[in-house]
């Protein structure tokens, strides 16, 4: 029995090593100098250049046009993450509210039109999507970055499930209490959905922050680059030079993963709840 437990821990520790090891190495290595890394390889011990590396990465004008800094990319990532999460919640709450709480003629067809979007991911329609964005002159804009990503029904689906789980009697009581559609939404639905909104916000923020393909297509102007979008540029520089700026590459990678990792860690409970129990 005791040995079995020990064996369990060994497996789990190996799992932790595999999952976390690379992150630790990236963090530690980023605090060394490029030449040092080039000479001695990766490191699992902190070096002495942590502050200056990150300062450089955040403020140095980089890229081909030289007008993008790490800070700017971080801000763009934040705009994408927050905008996407907020947009998703607003759109899908409204749509789900209409679907669950209203009787109307085209309800069934609307329902299927929305949920068909679950079938086809963005990746299979990238080129025509890009054409559409061109037609609408939305390339290299925040709108173009955020809004098309909202064209999927995941959030609507979540909220619909959640609204359906709210007891019918609550609406009935509210109607007897004289609440109309708007009042019921504001006074009852929104406050009841708080936890749900928080959970979805976290998931969607991470999803938005981590977008790669779409920003890659939509932004050619470097001042709209997000951190995740910028990764490839980092690599191109890295590959080209004599002594690659390993440290800066790692620092940018750490910056790109830090906010979503922090959010998942801090709000772990909500995050897992949102992920696995969206139907309750």
């Amino acid at each position: 029995m005791q040995r079995a437990k020990l064996f369990d821990h060994v497996i789990l520790l190996m799992g932790v090593f595999i999952m976390i090891g690379p992150l630790v190495v990236a963090l530690m290595t980023s605090s060394h100098e490029a030449a040092d890394i080039h000479r001695n390889g990766l490191s699992i011990l902190p070096g002495g250049h942590f502050v200056e590396t990150y300062q450089t990465v955040l403020t140095k004008q980089g890229g081909f046009t030289g007008k993008i800094t790490g800070l700017r990319m971080m801000m763009n990532s934040l705009i994408l993450g927050l905008g996407f999460a907020a947009g998703k919640i607003i759109l899908s709450m409204l749509a789900a509210y209409a679907l669950v709480y209203f009787r109307f003629r085209f309800a069934t067809i609307t329902f299927w039109m929305i949920f068909t979007t679950l079938l086809l991911p963005l990746e299979v329609r990238i080129l025509p999507s890009y054409e559409v964005m061109n037609t609408l002159h939305l390339t290299n804009t925040y709108t173009g970055l955020i809004v098309p990503l909202l064209a999927s029904a995941t959030g609507t689906f979540y909220f619909r499930q959640f609204f359906k789980s709210i007891p019918d009697e609550l609406l009935e009581a509210a109607r007897i209490d004289g609440a109309g559609p708007f009042k019921f939404f504001i006074d009852v639905i929104v406050p009841l959905s708080k936890t749900m909104m928080a959970a979805i916000f976290i998931i969607m923020f991470v999803y938005g922050w981590n977008q790669y393909l779409w920003p890659t297509l939509m932004t050619t102007d470097e001042s709209f680059f997000t951190l995740v979008r910028g990764i490839k540029q980092i690599l191109l520089v890295w590959v080209g030079s004599n002594i690659p700026d390993y440290n800066e590459a790692f620092a940018l990678a750490i910056l790109a993963m830090l906010p979503p990792v922090m959010i998942v860690m801090i709000f772990q409970r909500w995050f897992i709840k949102g992920l696995t129990e969206s139907d309750k």
């Binding site: 497996i11 789990l12 799992g15 932790v16 999952m19 690379p22 190495v25 990236a26 290595t29 890394i37 990766l42 607003i90 749509a95 209409a98 679907l99 669950v100 209203f102 069934t108 609307t110 329902f111 929305i114 979007t117 079938l119 990746e123 299979v124 329609r125 990238i126 080129l127 025509p128 559409v132 098309p148 064209a151 995941t154 959030g155 689906f157 979540y158 009935e172 109309g180 998931i203 991470v206 999803y207 981590n210 977008q211 790669y212 393909l213 995740v228 990764i231 490839k232 690599l235 191109l236 590459a249 790109a256 993963m257 979503p260 959010i263 992920l275 696995t276 129990e277 969206s278 139907d279």
Partner: protein, 326 residues
């Protein structure tokens, strides 16, 4: 009863039709707009739906229709209009040995990534569910990687498999394997697969763990009395109860491997796709944006749409039947 988690957005989010279908079918008698009492108003529901519908029409239906349409046309390379060519874009694609090779690789890649990320996720979840001390800590540490974007994961992979400084390259060199990621086809494929598995483990871990914790204590206790062998207990009681979760994850992981690994691949092949392994989605991207072959890329898009669609239906129809829903 074990209630399998059903839907989730992640990097694999927008394709969760299967979860949706399952939920939808679980209550067939109930109309999908199930409230005994509803508001009835001539325009309010449309008002609430308008933003969502506008976006879906502009950014989902319009491009989808365009993809289908332009897959039947040949774009003039100098931008002087296009000619209707029937299904020749499709036949060109399907006759191309290059395309079929990529399709074969995609299938292998998807199968391997799905299998290992599910297996490792399950193993860790079972172990984490079994230990009492440190349970929460393990959980926290094991899910971090979920939050990392695929291209960032790809970057980490590049670092670990770097010709010059990569510790993993040094490690396999001890066994006489001279790994050249980015140059050697097999080596690059191996690295891509490892990174893709690594990135997906936390997701499966979360779902399996929550599935395990959803199994009622009384069921476990009953199994404890009925069956002495721990492994047998796992195989005959726990595993069947986890089946809905596993089924759901199978679909999610397949779509993950097909689509969401784009970032990993793009970073790891560094635009030198020529002698490197790529997946079908990456090929669509290459032909459309690098090769400017609108018709061919669209035809490939449509083929992918069909694959996704068939896969969803197939998995839903056939695998679900062998799964015990409680």
């Amino acid at each position: 009863m074990t209630h399998a988690p059903s839907l989730s957005p992640t990097s694999a989010a927008p394709t969760t039709a299967a979860g949706f279908f399952r939920r939808f079918r679980s209550a067939p008698s109930e109309p999908h707009f199930a409230k005994r009492v509803q508001f009835s108003s001539p325009f309010l529901p449309y008002f609430f739906l308008a933003p969502q519908m506008a976006i879906i029409f502009t950014f989902f239906y319009w491009p989808s229709v365009q993809a289908i349409q332009s897959s039947f046309y040949l774009e003039d390379p100098f931008g002087f209009g296009s000619t209707f060519v029937g299904i020749s874009n499709y036949t060109d694609v399907l006759k191309s040995t290059e395309y079929l090779g990529i399709a074969r690789f995609t299938a292998v890649f998807t199968a391997v990534v799905t299998f290992f990320s599910l297996a490792i996720g399950l193993l860790l979840a079972v172990k984490a569910d079994g230990v009492i001390r440190g349970n929460a800590t393990y959980k926290t540490l094991l899910i971090w990687v979920y939050a990392i974007a695929p291209p960032v994961a790809g970057l980490m992979g590049m670092m670990l498999f770097d010709q010059h400084i990569g510790p993993l390259v040094k490690f396999v060199a001890l066994f006489g394997w001279d790994m050249k990621v980015g140059l050697n086809y097999t080596d690059t494929a191996t690295a891509m697969i490892i990174v893709s598995i690594w990135k997906q483990i936390p997701y499966n871990f979360i779902f399996f763990l929550s599935g395990l914790q959803g199994i009622p204590v009384s069921v476990r206790e009953a199994a404890l009395m009925d069956c002495r062998s721990g492994f047998r207990r796992f195989r005959t009681v726990i595993l069947p109860l986890l089946a809905p979760t596993a089924f759901f994850l199978l679909i999610i992981n397949t779509t993950y491997a097909l689509f969401d690994t784009f970032g990993v691949i793009d970073v790891m092949v560094k635009d030198k796709a020529a002698n490197n392994p790529i997946t079908l989605v990456y090929k669509v991207y290459m032909d459309g944006f690098r090769g400017n072959d609108l018709g061919g890329s669209s035809a490939q898009s449509v083929i992918l749409m069909i694959i996704v669609f068939v896969l969803t239906i197939f998995q839903f129809r056939f695998i679900e039947r062998r799964v015990h829903y409680s």
